[in-house]
């Protein structure tokens, strides 16, 4: 297992993909900061040309709770896309680069290799989430946002962490799609379908029953009138995560690898 982990780390470390995801999450933090800067003084933003002369942003105060909530909501949607792409890359590359066959008849079991891949994805996403938190704190402090209290910030950070964990769990079926579909595209297709359906179903008011809508509901993205995900919603997220991981491992172990 350690050997499989080491090889997966090496493969990830030597790729440019981690840097692309770091850049994406940096942009997310900066965009959040930009919104706060504009909300602080829309007249100033207008004079700096950041927004049009007649434009006005609505939807919150320029303070710590709003900013942390924005970061949590971004993690729910942007995280699903970025974490999903990480999952697709880690699994789909073995088929697109035709290296999967070199992982199939080894003294290291296929299940160990799949487990190592999921571990690397989880750690990778954890690093991105920590980066988002740290950058968020730095940017919020630099902007001098009001409303700081240990309780508020701790709640915000925990919410971002919980959303990140749920989002990572919800990407495991994407790994299955990239494996069973033998490449990137099936994974991308499933990812797009999941994000699209999550928006529609949440808007219809049934988000608590659709696992991919749960992180957005939890982060407050769907608005104040939406129901809380509840225990069922969280249980469905855990179930999807476990089913995706188990299905992927089972597929690698037992499917016909004839390509």
């Amino acid at each position: 297992m350690i050997d499989a982990l080491m090889t997966e780390f090496l493969k990830a470390r030597r790729s440019r993909v981690p840097w692309v995801t770091v850049l994406a999450f940096t942009v997310v933090s900066l965009v959040g900061g930009l919104f706060m800067f504009i909300l602080q003084d829309q007249g100033r933003a207008r004079s700096l040309g950041l927004i049009g002369t007649k434009a006005a942003l609505v939807g919150g105060e320029a303070d710590w709770p709003t900013y942390l909530s924005f970061l949590a909501q971004t993690t729910a949607v942007g995280g699903m896309i970025v974490f999903g792409l990480v999952e697709i890359w880690v699994f789909g590359r073995e088929f697109s680069q035709r290296t999967a066959k070199d992982l199939l008849a080894l003294p290291t079991s296929r299940v160990a290799i799949v487990t190592a891949k999921f571990a690397v994805v989880a750690l990778w996403c954890l690093v991105l989430s920590v980066q988002l938190l740290v950058l968020g704190l730095v940017i919020g402090t630099a902007l001098g946002l009001p409303g700081w209290s240990t309780g508020t910030v701790l709640t915000g950070l925990l919410q971002i962490g919980a959303v990140a964990v749920m989002t990572v769990l919800l990407t495991t079926p994407v790994a299955f799609a990239a494996s069973a579909g033998r490449g990137y595209l099936p994974g991308v297709g499933v990812l797009i379908a999941a994000v699209f359906c999550a928006q529609i179903i949440a808007a219809l008011g049934y988000g608590q029953y659709f696992p991919w809508s749960v992180p957005a509901l939890f982060s407050g993205l769907a608005g104040p009138g939406q129901p809380s995900p509840g225990a069922l919603g969280f249980a469905l997220v855990a179930l999807v995560g476990a089913a995706g991981a188990a299905g992927t491992a089972l597929w690698w172990r037992s499917a016909d690898h004839d390509r």
Partner: protein, 302 residues
């Protein structure tokens, strides 16, 4: 008697109505170089994938190095090296790093095996190059290096000479013969028929998923048809004289006459005597035999 290295019994693989491999049985002993010979789509690669546990047979069983090949069984693969179809490597990793990945997954520690196999496969110049920049020939060498890294007892190679230049082909042939002499069992598939003839100790001819013939290389000659090719100036007179002497003469284009009788092949001097007596002495006399390609096409009826 030592236990066979590979035992396949009644291997069948069907995809819907299509039968890729049909009731194929094999038994391969230690130190053999066994070649699977077949046209494209004959079922060679599917057979190799079943031997390696990558594809589950619809029916039948495989035993490799005494262990049954089945999902979840992986201990025996520590003694098996393989290369299936086109070689693949992580393009952003160097040759050394690709080999380190393979070594790690095989539980090997340190650099010794990696350094040894790089030297053995003449990859030293490219060791620090990214695998994505390698030529097809060097990518094939890297694929073979991964297969040989852990000094396996059994090598399963699908088209090992693919992409190599003639010198590389000869080099790999020597390497495989050397390994075989050390007791390593080699199973390979190839479409380079002359290579198979030079390398294999036993040839299995596979057609439409069925193993239609198995021949030990030292018995190959018995299965190869021979004929006497005679070139003469007076074709008509020569044919008449040979027919009168009881030979079955087949006229071909130009001055050539082919005699397929066993007597003509075994005692060509009688043919010469007949032709000289008839006043049309041959100016060329050659015993020809089927090359492996002709032999193969005859065996599979293509």
């Amino acid at each position: 008697m030592t236990e066979p290295v590979i035992v396949a019994k009644g291997l069948t693989k069907s995809y819907g109505d299509v039968t890729a491999v049909d009731d194929l049985s094999l038994e391969i002993s230690a130190g053999e170089i066994y070649a699977l010979l077949g046209l494209n789509g004959a079922g060679k690669t599917t057979t190799i994938r079943m031997l390696l546990g990558m594809v589950r047979p619809t029916s039948g069983s495989v035993t490799v190095l005494g262990a049954a090949v089945r999902p979840g069984a992986h201990a025996m693969w520590s003694r098996v090296g393989y290369l299936v179809e086109t070689p693949a490597a992580y393009p952003e990793l160097t040759v050394v790093e690709n080999l380190m990945v393979a070594a790690r997954l095989r539980g090997l520690r340190g650099h010794r095996q990696v350094d040894d196999v790089i030297t053995r496969l003449r990859l030293t110049r490219y060791a620090r190059n990214r695998a994505g920049t390698l030529s097809l020939g060097n990518a094939q060498r890297l694929g073979l290096a991964k297969a040989l890294l852990h000094q396996p007892d059994l090598l399963i190679l699908d088209e090992p000479a693919n992409g190599l230049d003639p010198a590389g082909v000869a080099e790999i042939r020597s390497l495989l013969v050397e390994l075989s002499l050390q007791g390593v069992t080699v199973v390979l598939s190839s479409h380079i028929l002359t290579e198979v003839a030079r390398l294999a100790t036993r040839v299995g001819v596979i057609d439409q998923g069925r193993l239609v013939r198995e021949i030990a290389s030292n018995h190959l000659a018995e299965h190869v048809r021979q004929r006497l090719s005679v070139s003469v100036r007076d074709h008509a007179a020569a044919s008449k004289a040979l027919s009168a002497a009881g030979f079955h003469a087949i006229r071909t284009d130009g001055d050539q006459i082919l005699l397929t009788d066993f007597r003509a092949v075994a005692e060509p001097e009688h043919v010469v005597t007949v032709l000289v007596a008839a006043g049309c002495p041959p100016y060329r006399l050659v015993v020809e035999e089927d090359d492996l390609e002709t032999f193969f096409l005859r065996v599979v009826g293509a």
